[in-house]
Symmetry: C2
Subunit: 182 residues, 2 copies
């Protein structure tokens, strides 16, 4: 079955962005690029919540240009955005159904793996339902002190198995876990 991968870059105090959504503290380097390329080769689908979608749409590219506001922020993969309020948009599919049954069906459909982008608000019900299979983090050497949490409170403990752990440059640590399904 397709796997759902959750993760991204975080601060040591487990924020994925500042309170206003800024990610100016991120360190992008060859180590992170190699990992992202590897992850990207295993997936064909991205799922995200509205806030992550809107943040991804507005992110400046490294050259300072902004992406087109209405395009799929992750070109080349199928992008699903969970929102009950967003209108239909070109390039992505807006999902107004409940996230858990939708992702369960998505995992049973044929395809490559599925990447859950962004925040823990969407991850929480999916962890609770046992639908997340892997967690990968690029832990940055900073305590932001406040921000958007990677992990939200959950109703149960999730056990993990460490598969990989290594420094990837600029003080960043890559950790990769398999979720132990009970």
């Amino acid at each position: 079955m397709r796997q759902v991968i959750f993760g991204g870059a975080n601060s040591l105090d487990n924020y994925l962005a500042r309170p206003d959504g800024r990610v100016d503290w991120l360190r992008w380097n060859d180590g992170a690029a190699v990992i992202m390329k590897s992850v990207w080769s295993t997936i064909d689908t991205v799922i995200m919540g509205r806030k992550t979608y809107e943040a991804a749409r507005s992110h400046a590219k490294p050259d300072g240009k902004r992406k087109r506001a209405s395009a799929n922020p992750y070109p080349g993969v199928t992008s699903y955005v969970f929102s009950r309020t967003l209108p239909d948009e070109a390039g992505v599919t807006i999902i107004r159904d409940d996230v858990v049954p939708f992702v369960r069906r998505l995992k049973e459909a044929p395809g490559k793996d599925i990447c859950l982008m962004g925040g823990g608000e969407l991850a929480r019900p999916l962890f609770d339902a046992g639908l997340i299979d892997r967690v990968g983090l690029n832990i940055h050497p900073v305590l932001l002190g406040a921000g958007v949490p990677v992990f939200h409170a959950m109703s149960r403990q999730i056990d993990l198995e460490l598969e990989e752990c290594r420094p990837i440059g600029d003080g960043c640590v890559y950790v990769n876990y398999r979720v132990v399904h009970v």
Copy 2:
């Protein structure tokens, strides 16, 4: 000057204990023992808040016996407990002064390094005041979902420099950082 070391074992979602204080999820192994022995050799003083003190006093030893309720939970080192409500107790020194000026004076006094035990409630004002010099964590392969946070909200960002990162067995990852003082 003496350094203040903050850290301990945490879950990947950055809790140091369950909501009721239990640490039954901790994995104790030779890797952790070697690190603890090394840290212990560099310090002669422990500082902690009331909750950590009370939790440490009541912790069961591996053989199931409980430590004496009134003794210093960290024998062999000088233990300071910050509390405005605890009565004087044998084996430890109860500090009713503000934590920041007290720790500033402590760092200027002669001695080995100082270990800040337990939770982020005491760490927060000390990070804010620039008095913490090192952060070491034994990141456990588990998402607890809820608990006592290692890091609380802070008024400013704390930059870190990674000094060490390695798996230490049983899925645990040891990370050790130097705080960048501004």
